[in-house]
Amino acid sequence: MTLKRKIALVDLDRHAITIQAIPGQWRSRFLGGRGIGDYLLWQYGAMHCDALSADNTIVVNAGLLGGTLAAPHAFGTILAKSPLTGFLTCSSLNGPFAAEMRWAGFDHVVIRGRSKKPVFLFITDGHIEIRDAEQLWGKTTRQAREAILQTLGDRETKTLQIGPAGENLVRFATVMVDRWISAGRTGLGAVLGSKNIKALACRGTGDLEVKFPERILELGPNLNADNPVDAIAHLAHENVLFSGKTIEAIQDLAIDAGMDVETALVMLQWACAMVEKGVIDRRHTRGLVLDQENTKSLKALAKNISLGNSLGRILGQGPLRVADKFGFDPMKWLPSEKSLFDIYSETETGGCSSNENISGAPTDFWQMPGAPGQVALEELCALICGCLGIACPPGIEGVSISTVFGNISELIRLNTGLVFDTNTLLTIAYRCHALERLFNCTVQSTYRKQHLSELHIDVPASFYRSVDLTGVEKLKKIRLSIDRHYRLKGWVQNKFFHKKVFGLLEIEDLWAVLRKK
C-alpha cells in the first residue's frame, strides 16, 4: 500500500539502523513528507545544538503521494537545523530521489550522530547499509555520483550527494540530487558533511499499490499539472552584475563543489566591492587580484570558498558572519538588500528551495507585500504539498481555498483511500506550520546568545539597521505586511501563539520533549 512505508533511524555514532512502521495516527495528524518530518525532527532533533555538531538531526522525507501519478518525480524534502540561519530549514528535493525512496520502502530517513570516517548510505528494498566512502571524500558532486554508480553497478540508482563545500562546512553548501538538481541552500550540505556522510544512494524495485487505479487513469494527465523538469532549470542571477561567461564558470564550479550558486555569486560580488573600498586587502586575498571582470580570480576565490581556504573560509560563513568580522558597515555594498533576504530565505519553488526564512515571514513577500491573506493560503498550500510530495498547484491566486484543497483531497483519496476534507487539510497544514514556528521560536532564545545576535525571528530594528541604507521605505512596507500576515495566522511576535492556537495543534506529546530540550 502507499501507506505501508517505513521510517529508518540511522545512528551514525553506533553505526546502528532501526526500522519502524509509521503509526496510522501520524498520518491523520501530519499526513506524511514534510509534516511527519517536522514531527520526527522534534522527536529526535536537538534544537539548541550547534547546527554543525553531531547533535543536529537531518530528516529526509518522501511525500505521501511520491511515486504515484500525482507526483512521480516531484518533491521530497530534507529538514534540519540550518547552519546558516540557525533555524529549521525545509528544502525541497526535486528529482527522482524521493520516489525511489518510496519504491525502496521508506518514507523517512532520520540521520543522527556523526560517523568516525566518511560513509554513504545505501537504501535499497527494505533495508539500509552504511558503506565506506573514504574513496569518495574530496570528489566533486558529479565525480562522487559516478563513483557510487560504478561501485553499486546499477545506473538506475538515484543519489543525493555533497561536494567539497559540504565537506568543508561551507554554510551555504547544498546537496545535489542526481547530477544537476541542488537543494538545501541554507547549508544542508554542510550538515551532511559534518556527519561525515558523502551521499545517500537509493534503489527501489518495490510496488506502491494505488487505491483506485482505473479512476486515476480515467482522469488522465489533468490529474495534476506537475512538470518536474521546469523546476530543475531554475537559476536566477538577478542580484549580480558579472558577465554571462563569468556566471557560467562560477555556476559550473559551484555545482561541482556543491554550494549554492546564487549565494556564491553574491559573496563574490560583495568581496569585489569590499576590495574596491579597501575593507579587504591583499593580506586577506593572499595576492589574489579580485575584480568583477577577472573571471580567473573569481573562480579561484570560489574554489577557495568551497575548500575553506584563506578568505574563502570567511566568505563561506555567509554575509552576516562576514559582517561580524568586517563590521556591519560594508553590508551596504551587498548587491542589494534583496540579495541578503534571498540568501537567508528560501522559496518553495526552484532548484534550491525551502520555506521559512530568518524572519519567519511569508515566503514570497517580496512579490506580494500587499496580499498577506493570499500568501498565508499559499504557505498552507505549500505545506500540504510538502506533506504529499507534489508540486504546489500553479496560479492559485484568486482560486478559492475549497477548490485548491478539494482537488488535493481528491488526489489523496484516489491514491491512498484516505479521506480528508478541506478543513482537516487546513488544520494539518496549520499544525505543521506551527510545529516549524515553534521550533524556530524555541531555538531563538539560544540563538540570540550566539554571535549572530543581529538576527531575530521577527525581523527586529537592528536587522533593518544593517540593510536600511538601501531601502528603508521598502522594508517598512514589508514589515507592515508581515504584521498583517502574523495576525491572520494567529502568530504573536516574541510569544509563541495566541492561546486559541494551542487547542488546534494536538501536539501535547511534544510538550514533554520541549521541556526536556
Binding site: 501519478l69 512521480p72 518525480h73 520516489a99 519504491w103 506502491l208 494505488v210 488522465g220 512538470n227 518536474p228
Partner: protein, 158 residues
C-alpha cells in the same frame, strides 16, 4: 488499416517517468517501474533519456525461441502477443530479447511485455512533452519524408 507503432523521441523525453508509472498502474494496478513495460534509460551526463519498450519485431527472436508457441504475432494490432495459457514461464524469450523489453514477475511467476494496451497505449496519454506517440506507419513515414524534403529543397524555391 495501416500498422501503428509506438515511437519514442529521445530529444523530447525529460525522464519524468510518468509513462513507467502509468504503464505499471494500467497493467498491475500498482505504481512500480520495475513492472513497467516501458523503461526510461538515462545516458550521458547531459540529462538525455531514451524510452525503451517492445518493438513488436516482425522477425521476433522471442517468437522464434518460444518452445510452446506462446508468443505469436497479432496481425490485427501489429504486435507480438503472449498466450498465457500456453506459456510455461521458461523465460527463454526474456533472455533472447535484444531490447531487454521482456520482463519476468517473480511473485506471479510469469513473463510480461508491452501489449500496447490493446491498441490504446496508456503511456502516450501521460507523456506531457510528447516524446511518445502512437502513429500510423505510413503517415509517420510521410511526415519524415516531408521534413527531409524541406531540408533538401533549396531555400530560394521555398
Amino acid at each position: 488499416m495501416n500498422a501503428r507503432i509506438l515511437v519514442a523521441d529521445p530529444k523530447k523525453c525529460t525522464g519524468c517517468g510518468m509513462c513507467e508509472i502509468a504503464c505499471s498502474i494500467k497493467q498491475t494496478g500498482m505504481s512500480s517501474p520495475a513492472r513497467s513495460r516501458i523503461r526510461i534509460i538515462p545516458w550521458g551526463d547531459n540529462m538525455r533519456y531514451l524510452p525503451i519498450t517492445c518493438q513488436q519485431c516482425e522477425d521476433a527472436p522471442c517468437v522464434a525461441v518460444c518452445p510452446k508457441e506462446a508468443l505469436e504475432h497479432d496481425h490485427k494490432l501489429h504486435r507480438v502477443a503472449i498466450d498465457y495459457k500456453k506459456c510455461i514461464s521458461c523465460r527463454m524469450c526474456v533472455a533472447v530479447c535484444p531490447y531487454g523489453a521482456m520482463g519476468f514477475e517473480a511473485d506471479k511467476g510469469r513473463i510480461f511485455k508491452c501489449d500496447q494496451c490493446g491498441g490504446e497505449p496508456e503511456c502516450i496519454h501521460w507523456c506531457a512533452p510528447g516524446a511518445l506517440t502512437y502513429v500510423d506507419t505510413v503517415a509517420d513515414n510521410l511526415r519524415r519524408i516531408r521534413a527531409t524534403a524541406r531540408r533538401m529543397i533549396p531555400h530560394k524555391i521555398v
